[in-house]
């Protein structure tokens, strides 16, 4: 297929065929990763900068591995220890990097809109959103879709229950859009204080009882609960959260027999997920991590012209 995307800011305008094509490519990339000599020269001579304003070892390392497997030149530019700490703006940093010849910038930033802002400010370099505030984390959704696709021949009509802190979660936003685009029945649950007030845009349904949401689900997706949410008074205690919404074996037993258990990591044991579930046979949490490299390789390969 003709690949039309140069950047990835969010998945709102991606078509199902495009996601299918990308996960196809990711499958090829994963085959490559299993070979004794892993590197391919697809992006030789391309300069990719990983511009991270928030600490994120997982996502950064995953991107970095993907870039290196494709033989791109890689620069890691983290906010601490660079000029950003001295008050340089995102705009100046981006222009500086572009002047140095960056072909692509992978950006993680705490502010909603940072990735689209960069895209508007840059003339040539492509922008890949590795997370902008609570707005979007599209590569996480792509790798989650890829992981699920390895277990189901088609995602069409499958039920996925996303449980936890939806309102503060860029992972949830991108996954609601991504899995809906794939034709899934997406349902969500969690305390009302952690739900966005409006879910129609995403085409998902809310269940106040997590058992109702999980019932008959093919995928149960748990979200990380951050401690500060309790400090903000959004629920009374982590213990109570686990009691009411945590994924233990009893809750999971309501899902389909072989339902997949997913989580973007890092997990909080006995807050949103019980160890027996996280480490149990249905859990694909570590598989998700492995998928990340292959999916990001496919993304960079397609968008940066490796395919042409």
């Amino acid at each position: 297929m003709e690949w039309k995307h140069k950047n990835l800011i969010d998945l709102d305008c991606w078509e199902k065929e495009e996601i299918l094509h990308l996960i196809d490519q990711a499958g090829n990339m994963e085959d490559l990763l299993n070979r004794p000599i892993k590197k391919v020269p697809a992006l030789r001579g391309k300069l990719i900068v990983n511009l991270f304003f928030e600490p994120s070892t997982r996502t950064r390392v995953s991107f970095e591995l993907a870039e290196k497997m494709l033989s791109a030149d890689v620069v890691n530019w983290s906010a601490s220890g660079s000029s950003t700490a001295k008050g340089e703006t995102l705009r100046d940093t981006a222009w500086t990097l572009e002047s140095m010849g960056a072909d692509a910038i992978v950006v993680r930033h705490g502010a909603v809109g940072a990735a689209s802002y960069l895209q508007r400010k840059l003339k040539h370099a492509a922008v890949f959103n590795a997370g902008d505030g609570a707005h979007a984390h599209p590569t996480q959704a792509l790798l989650d879709i890829y992981t699920a696709s390895k277990h189901y021949s088609s995602l069409e009509g499958l039920r996925i229950a996303i449980v936890g802190d939806i309102v503060h979660s860029r992972v949830a936003r991108s996954n609601m859009i991504g899995f809906r685009t794939m034709g899934c029945d997406v349902v969500v649950s969690g305390p009302k204080t952690l739900m966005p007030p409006e879910l129609d845009y995403y085409g998902v349904r809310y269940f106040k009882d997590p058992r109702e949401a999980v019932k008959g689900a093919n995928i149960v997706y748990l979200l990380r609960i951050q401690r500060e949410r309790q400090e903000q008074g959004l629920f009374p205690s982590l213990d109570e959260y686990f009691k009411l919404f945590g994924a233990d074996e009893e809750l999971i037993s309501l899902a389909e027999k072989d339902a997949l258990i997913m989580h973007p990591g890092p997990i909080n044991r006995r807050v949103e997920i019980d160890s027996l579930v996280a480490d149990g046979p249905q859990s694909v949490i570590l598989e998700q991590v492995r998928s990340g490299v292959a999916v990001r390789m496919a993304l960079l390969y397609l968008c940066l012209g490796g395919a042409r």
Binding site: L90, R91, G113, A114, Y117, G133
Partner: protein, 438 residues
């Protein structure tokens, strides 16, 4: 002083559009004559043929942030007053949330004096309700009135302490100056960046809920009822807020309100569609389409008393940032009237033109202390403060041409229909964007 004759114009006198074409003679800064027949022309006379244009009382903006003293990198009284004149205004009220705040008679005087030498619109100061705008102690309201303050407001935030507001309403009752409230409950809106609902859900940004506005309006209405003091609610943005005000007005309470050009013409979807362009970031946030509809309906129903810009200029470096990091505020003085006229036409002229014009002229003039009540009318003997409108003029907004220091606005490049083309302040041409000089 040179005399001026405006010929063949339509006239809106602050009440109605007068029948037929009129000729207006301006002498000594005052309107000397309004006649159906063209007066015999003396030699020393400047003549403008305004056929097809509407001459109105000079437009009044009761809510503009001029950032002076203390934040002159954003705007100052000179640039702000000139921007206002270019935008079609002859009188603007400068908000007191400056650095330091205008909370004393000396700064009231400073604003007036600097405005006088600006070569732009007349600048009338608002003073704060509380000293240092902290919501603890009442500012010297009486002294500020003597120096020329025309409103009291802690705008930028609500009056933080209900008890202080109650006392201020009682104390200021003999001063003939209204208290202007920025309706917001800071606890409910804390951290809010966009409208609560669709926009907060999709963006992941914290929502500022309509309840924040409504709760504060309800509280203030109760205080107005109890004290008999008058409260003006500025930049009302929600359907529910409007409903509260409508109810209070129907009870005969001394409540008035204004709405902004941006809340009348923009909505929350633009935040998302623009890819989180921070020019759409403002407080109160852009609301949903239903709210916009309700504001227009409120104009049609006569619930709204004024359209006020809440012109809130910032330096590029404070605004050209990722959405979540950018400052709150929309700069609009130089395109606000056009934006509203354009929207009014595209909404099928939801209310009579006279109603709309009254919200820039006689109605806001009525909110000012009595000495300024002549500002909202065109009549013989009144000061010749005039705004000339060309309802058919199409022009593109180009922020680089502005006198304002702001360099970002949501209307950049927008093609708008209906523009002010001339402003006169006491008979002096402040701005002329037409070649009608004979």
């Amino acid at each position: 002083m040179e005399s001026i004759l405006l010929t063949n114009c339509k006239v809106y006198d602050g009440k109605e559009l007068l029948d037929g074409e009129k000729h207006i003679l301006i002498e000594d800064g005052k309107i000397a004559k309004i006649a159906a027949e063209k007066p015999s022309v003396s030699e020393n006379l400047k003549i403008y043929n305004l056929k097809g244009l509407i001459v109105c009382p000079g437009f009044i903006d009761i809510h503009a942030h001029l950032r002076d003293p203390g934040q002159e990198w954003r705007e100052d009284i000179l640039s702000g007053a000139r921007a206002a004149a270019r935008g079609g205004y002859t009188t603007i009220v400068a908000m007191p949330n400056t650095d330091p705040p205008v909370d004393n008679p000396f700064l009231v005087r400073y604003v007036i004096e600097k405005g006088r030498s600006s070569g732009g619109a007349r600048v009338l100061p608002a003073g704060t309700v509380s000293k240092n705008r902290e919501g603890c102690v009442m500012a010297e309201m009486g002294k500020m009135v003597e120096e020329g303050a025309v409103f009291f407001t802690d705008d930028g935030s609500p009056v933080k302490n209900s008890s202080l507001l109650q006392k201020a309403l009682l104390y200021s009752s003999h001063l003939d100056v209204r208290i202007m409230e920025h309706p917001e409950d800071n606890e409910l809106s804390k951290g809010g960046q966009v409208n609560y609902g669709w926009c907060s859900s999709i963006s992941g940004l914290k929502g500022n809920p309509p309840s924040s506005e409504v709760v504060d309006i309800k509280k203030c209405v109760a205080l107005a009822k109890e004290t008999g003091g008058a409260i003006h609610f500025t930049h009302v943005s929600t359907k529910e807020g409007i409903e509260e005000i409508k109810r209070a007005k129907s009870e005969g309470l001394p409540i008035t309100c204004d709405v902004t050009p941006h809340h009348l013409t923009l909505d929350e979807t633009m935040v998302v569609k623009s890819g989180f362009d921070a020019t759409y970031k403002v407080n109160p946030p852009l609301r949903n389409k239903e709210d916009v509809e309700a504001l227009w309906q409120a104009i049609a129903d006569g619930v709204v008393d004024a359209i006020a810009t809440d012109h809130a200029p910032y330096h590029m470096d404070e605004k050209d940032l990722p959405f979540q990091e950018a400052a709150f505020g929309i700069a609009s003085l130089e395109c606000a009237i056009a934006a509203v006229l354009n929207e009014w036409s595209s909404r099928g002229k939801i209310c009579p033109l006279e109603r709309l014009l009254s919200l820039w002229t006689s109605n806001p003039a009525g909110l000012l202390p009595r000495q300024w009540s002549d500002l909202g009318v065109i009549k013989e003997g009144a000061p010749a403060d005039l705004t000339v409108l060309d309802l058919d003029k199409n022009k593109q907004v180009k922020v680089e041409e502005w006198a304002s220091k702001a360099r970002l606005t949501p209307w950049e490049d927008a093609s708008l229909k209906g523009w002010p083309v001339m402003t006169f302040l006491e008979g002096k041409v402040l701005f002329c964007d037409t070649d009608r000089r004979c």
